[in-house]
Amino acid sequence: MYVFYAIISLTVLGLVLGLLLGIAAKYLKVESSPLVDALEALLPGSQCGQCGFPGCRPAAEALADGLAPATMCPPGGSALAEQIAALLGVELDLTSLKEPELLVAKVSEATCTGCTRCFKVCPTDAIVGAPKQIHAVVADACIGCKKCVEVCPTECLQMHPIEVTLRNWRWSKPLLTTTGKALC
């Protein structure tokens, strides 16, 4: 009989607390800043941590508070910096910004043991493979977050610059005169 008392009292307790928590979640909800939401939507969302913040949400909060420059996201490059600056309404000096060298991971087939650790951490599923099979990186999906490099036990995953092909080859900017004077 005591068993039933215990069951009933605990169930009731659970239900009441659950109800209270549910009401609290609805009425005492902390509104998140719409600006932070908008910034977070712009950021890549890969939580790579290259900016020095633990993830894209904290980075967006820092941006909204003015604690980080618009050029803070290395994978986003100047294109993202321009979008962020437009959203925050700040002046952006891109002439001083050096375009970050984009890297992609590459598996060295000679030393890959097929441990599957890398593709478990890859945030974009850019690594394909199976246990005890040599893994491969899909370069088009790789965002260069280096998470796989950290977990690889044999150091077979290395970051390489993106290969220049006719698809991503571009004309370079015309050089100014040796004196560096403005031309127009």
Partner: protein
């Protein structure tokens, strides 16, 4: 009266420059068809706008001239055929005829010297074919716009039928200096070109064609007029000599008086433009079943001892063409594929000629423009010569300050890279180079944007998958626990029964 007409024609022309023609050396010589067959041909799988062709031959296979080597993939693409008979020795990456000379996939054909055609059955009366059939045959012959744009011709014919195009303009302007391949073809192959034009009209289900020839080519004009005399729907007309007269919108505006709105295609005003070389290739493909395996190109420039217009098999290395034309490599300061205004400077001669190669120039140092840039003096010459009606100096300013969006607002996307602004600039400011750089940056930004969207999708699907797996594991765990409890309960009841 005369002044009224001249003002009328002036209003139909916008901008443009008069560069020195340099055509005399090649315009008076007939097309040289004695080019020796090269030992090896390097045939890129992408010689057109769109998706690269997919090879269907294997290394070691013996092929005949005109045999299909790679088939077209997707809606906008073109097949590639064997330019001569021989054996396939490699399908691999080789340097492309592009300023970067980066590798692209090519088929390497070792010729056997016989130059043996694949047997074709000529069609007695191609005008009995349906327009759809004409498009299909033109597409299967790998014909692309031979003026240099290399857009698949069959797609244009089909679009012409679907968009109710009423006017076909054949571009015989050849406004680029040095080049005279279209001029020579119009003089020597006028009957074939007119036949090709009639076939194109049939393929587009249209009946009005204008052949526009710049008035510095009187011989070509007379020849074409004589050939077109019998056909009432085909009019040969003179257009003023001015670069870039061969730009499609300039031609349309001059010939039909219609203005193509910014951001639209010429088909939206009911006009399609084809090059004279394309018309000739169409004639060959439909009448004789011969695919596009060679092209006529002009070899000229100060370093060329025997400048000429010559027909070469596609895939011939530039070095071999230059050897035939006796190019002095020590005096060559710049190698250009195409014309000097819009052509592309190539780093070396170990690159193949392709369907787009209308000319090969070996220019000496004297022929190049001095490139030491000076400050802008705000003369607005670039504004007055821009055929699109843009303000090149302002665009260059914004691009220099990395304000691409401002440049786009000024009309960067409408720039056709004709180079008139750079040509006319008294301060030698590399204006068109800025626009080419900025256009590339715009594409790069688009690609980056696309990648970041793609990344978000990938991450979302990964998160969803991980959640699904976790949920599944949880359910399995629950089921296991439930089964265990059930087993224990059964055991207990059995024990109590006992």
């Amino acid at each position: 009266m005369l002044s009224f007409f001249s003002s009328f024609t002036q209003s139909r022309l916008r901008g443009g420059v008069h560069p020195e023609a340099h055509k005399r050396a090649t315009a008076l010589q007939p097309i040289n068809t004695d080019f020796p067959l090269p030992a090896r041909l390097y045939i890129p799988l992408q010689q057109h706008v769109g998706k690269p062709a997919e090879p269907l031959i294997r290394v070691g296979e013996i092929v005949l001239k005109g045999q299909l080597l790679a088939y077209s993939q997707g809606l906008i693409s073109a097949p590639v055929h064997a330019p001569s008979s021989g054996i396939i020795v490699d399908v691999n990456d080789y340097p492309a005829p592009h300023p970067s000379a980066l590798p692209i996939r090519m088929i390497v054909l070792e010729t056997d010297g016989k130059d043996e055609w694949l047997s074709h059955t000529p069609i007695p009366d191609p005008f009995q074919l349906t327009p759809e059939d004409i498009s299909l045959r033109v597409g299967a012959a790998g014909i692309v716009g031979l003026g240099g744009a290399t857009f698949p011709t069959a797609v244009k014919l089909t679009m012409g039928r679907e968009n109710r195009i009423d006017t076909l303009i054949i571009n015989g302007a050849e406004c680029e200096p040095y080049l005279s391949c279209d001029d020579r073809q119009m003089q020597e192959r006028s009957a074939e070109i007119i036949d090709g034009v009639r076939l194109m009209l049939h393929g587009m289900a249209a009946n009005l064609a204008f052949i526009a020839i710049e008035d510095n080519k009187p011989q070509a004009f007379l020849a074409m007029q004589a050939a077109a005399h019998a056909y009432s729907g085909i009019t040969v007309l003179h257009i003023p000599t001015r670069y870039p007269m061969g730009w499609d919108r300039q031609l349309i505006r001059y010939v039909t008086g219609r203005e193509v709105p910014a951001g639209c295609r010429s088909s939206e005003v009911g006009v399609t433009i084809h090059n004279v070389g394309t018309a000739y290739a169409t004639h060959k493909a439909i009448r004789y079943g011969q695919p596009l395996v060679s092209r006529v190109l002009t070899v000229a420039g100060g370093a060329v001892a025997r400048p000429m217009t010559v027909e070469v098999p596609l895939g011939t290395l530039i070095a071999e063409v230059f050897a035939f034309c006796e190019v002095d490599s020590t005096r060559t300061a710049r190698i250009i594929m195409g014309g000097p205004m819009m052509g592309e400077a190539l780093p070396h001669t170990g690159l193949p000629t392709v369907k787009a190669t209308s000319g090969l120039l070996a220019l000496t140092q004297d022929e190049l423009k001095q490139t030491e840039a000076q400050p802008c003096i705000r003369c607005a010459s670039c504004v007055s010569v821009c055929p699109v009606g843009l303000r090149p100096l302002d665009m260059a300013n914004t691009i220099r300050a990395k304000q691409l969006e401002a440049a786009v607002e000024l009309g960067l996307k409408e720039c056709i890279s004709c180079g008139c602004c750079s040509y006319i600039c008294p301060s030698n400011i590399p204006l068109v180079q800025y626009f080419k750089y900025a256009s590339g940056e715009l594409v790069a930004q688009q690609q980056a944007q696309h990648k970041s969207e793609q990344t978000k999708k990938l991450m979302a699907s990964r998160t969803a998958r991980l959640e699904r797996i976790a949920q599944q594991q949880l359910e399995e765990e629950r089921a296991r626990i439930a089964a265990k409890i059930e087993r224990e309960r059964l055991k207990a009841t059995q024990e109590t029964v006992e």
